[in-house]
Symmetry: D2
Subunit: 97 residues, 4 copies
């Protein structure tokens, strides 16, 4: 990993694959609404998309903590403190979303 | 609302509009990853998509409760009980997702 | 159920039992911190308490929808609309918490 | 911080204070149910307790990441990997709870 690369660089292709699947799930939602599917069926599908997004977020966070916070790029004690504050703020947003 | 129409029928166009915006947000996520954006920027954007999906879910649920559970279509005491169990299961999935 | 009784009246004893168990879990958390338990052990226990509270919330919501929204106490179409708006606001707070 | 001390050692008193307040909130919930308060009032109070617990969890996590993962106690590359896996599992439980 170079200094300019994000923590997920080694998972980039897998991440894109998952995001394309999520895009397909959102189009599936549009189809359900187009066909006037039952409310509960649409809600169940929304829950599935939300969970898929959360799984991507947790994977990204894991990559970030491993590679950006703990890796050789972390950049000294000062840089680490700032990055930690940033990471915990991102975790808080995830937990509350 | 006819018996065969879903609770969100009057909001159908608005729902589709919101789902297309969410599809655009997911494509935006793919672009961020493609350009190797910083992990935290991607995470922040995932949180935004998750919240947009939750807002759609809450709107659907409101439509469902108003029109399918309480409306004239509800279908007698037995039908209402079954529908209520189904709605609370959907709410539980939302709360835990 | 009388008009002045809450929707959970028939589950009142069971609810109190669960809330006392949750109180015990919170005291267990204090003991863990007192004994300087490992951070992750405390976090795991917090998650358990949060889930127990959510389960109580979902049960209350079910009682509320069955007895206050759909029951004979619901109080006419106007009263029902107001109660529905109130219930969906409570669900939104739960989903976002 | 000694090797045997948890990451929250410097916040221990503040944590205990917050956990005692949460215990009081849970007893407040029991009082509401005892007095047969309106369902929505009880639900609103449950949401407040859940949020207070989440805030404690996020603070603990921040202490853990700062002091146990990044601190001098982290214990070499192997120990750090194991601790990171443990931390991300705890974050996943929080996000999904």
């Amino acid at each position: 990993m170079k200094a300019s690369e994000p923590g997920y660089i080694e998972d980039k292709a897998a991440l894109q694959h998952r995001l394309r699947r999520i895009e397909g799930q959102v189009r599936g939602l549009q189809r359900l609404v187009e066909e006037e599917a039952y409310c509960i069926a649409v809600l169940t599908q929304i829950t599935a998309v939300t969970r898929a997004l959360q799984a991507v977020a947790l994977e990204l966070l894991d990559d970030h903590l491993s590679n950006c916070l703990l890796g050789p790029e972390a950049g000294g004690e000062q840089g680490t403190k700032a990055k930690l504050a940033e990471a915990t703020a991102a975790i808080a947003r995830l937990v509350r979303s």
